[in-house]
Amino acid sequence: MTDPASTMNSPAVTTLGEPVARPQGLRSLAADWSSDQRAFKDVSWGKVMMWIFLLSDTFIFSCFLLSYMTVRMSTTEPWPNPSEVFALEIGGKPIPLILIAIMTFILISSSGTMAMAVNFGYRRDRAKTALLMLATAAFGASFVGMQAFEWTKLITEGVRPWGNPWGAYQFGSSFFMITGFHGTHVTIGVIFLLIMARKVWRGDFDTERRGFFTSRKGNYEIVEITGLYWHFVDLVWVFIFAFFYLW
């Protein structure tokens, strides 16, 4: 009998009794990267994959904001003043950016309820988790509603991707592109939240019910993963609010 420790450290043996040679050259690159190694300890693959997806989404939104910066800096026409464009008449007097401010507060509130849902999820408090997720979805849906109102208002005032009454034509294309893409993300988030809230409410993660699509058992970590996506949507809005509406 050989010492078990030395057996563990020596290369695996084939039935022919010869050690398996490691691949060389380009083949070694694929072999090493696909070998059974984990870079991210103490964190599930689901969470890591959501983070990596969010990183790629970061680049997408960065490119939108960068193209907005580029057209705004290079146009010779004056840029429409967002403070006036997005003002609303309340009580006969225009209040600058008020709708956008309300939308910001709504999205922040939805992030707060989401963070608490994650916390109750890990305590396996089924009812509170589901209700907080539903509250988050409701905030998100009202956000999308206000965005639809804002789009309608601007379109009736004559803003188009190819022009507007106040100045640089690129204003419209940047506005519809950036807020449209963000609104799509919020909408997908609301759908995602509703599906997961239903699973939590039904007790899927307590009874280890298998998913309809993957046939795998889920657990309460999916609440945190849903939360990551939702907080990211809020995070993107922080940047849009600063660069598009306030700048």
Binding site: L55, F59, M69, S74, S109, G112, D234, V238, W247
Partner: protein, 111 residues
């Protein structure tokens, strides 16, 4: 990083920390709205907007998204690549200044 090695502690921490962060996000958003409401201009406006934006983004990522309690391998993998965007910003500032220059020079616009 007392929390780093204890994921159980992360998931068990109280609701209070979220409420505090939530309140701060409200305060910071109000501040950035007031920058516009009072019509501040120039470098003061831009630096305040950026300051409030960065603090809000930091709070969301660190606390709400639990990044503060993750291991460094994940933190670096996610937070370092976006730095490349800043390089892109630099490139595009050069590019748009040049575009503006050529438009003024050869089309006589804006003059």
């Amino acid at each position: 990083m007392a929390h780093a090695a204890a994921p159980a502690a992360v998931h068990g921490h109280s609701i209070k920390v979220y409420l505090i962060v939530w309140a701060w996000l409200f305060v910071l958003s109000t501040c950035s709205y007031l920058v516009d409401y009072f019509g501040l201009h120039g470098y003061l406006r831009w630096s305040l907007i950026l300051l409030f934006m960065i603090v809000k983004a930091g709070l969301i990522v660190a606390i709400f998204m639990h990044m503060a309690w993750e291991r460094l391998a994940l933190i670096y993998a996610i937070l370092v690549p976006p730095v490349a965007v800043l390089v892109f910003v630099g490139i595009m500032i050069f590019e748009s200044n040049y575009t503006l220059f050529t438009r003024m020079q050869f089309f006589g616009l804006g003059s």
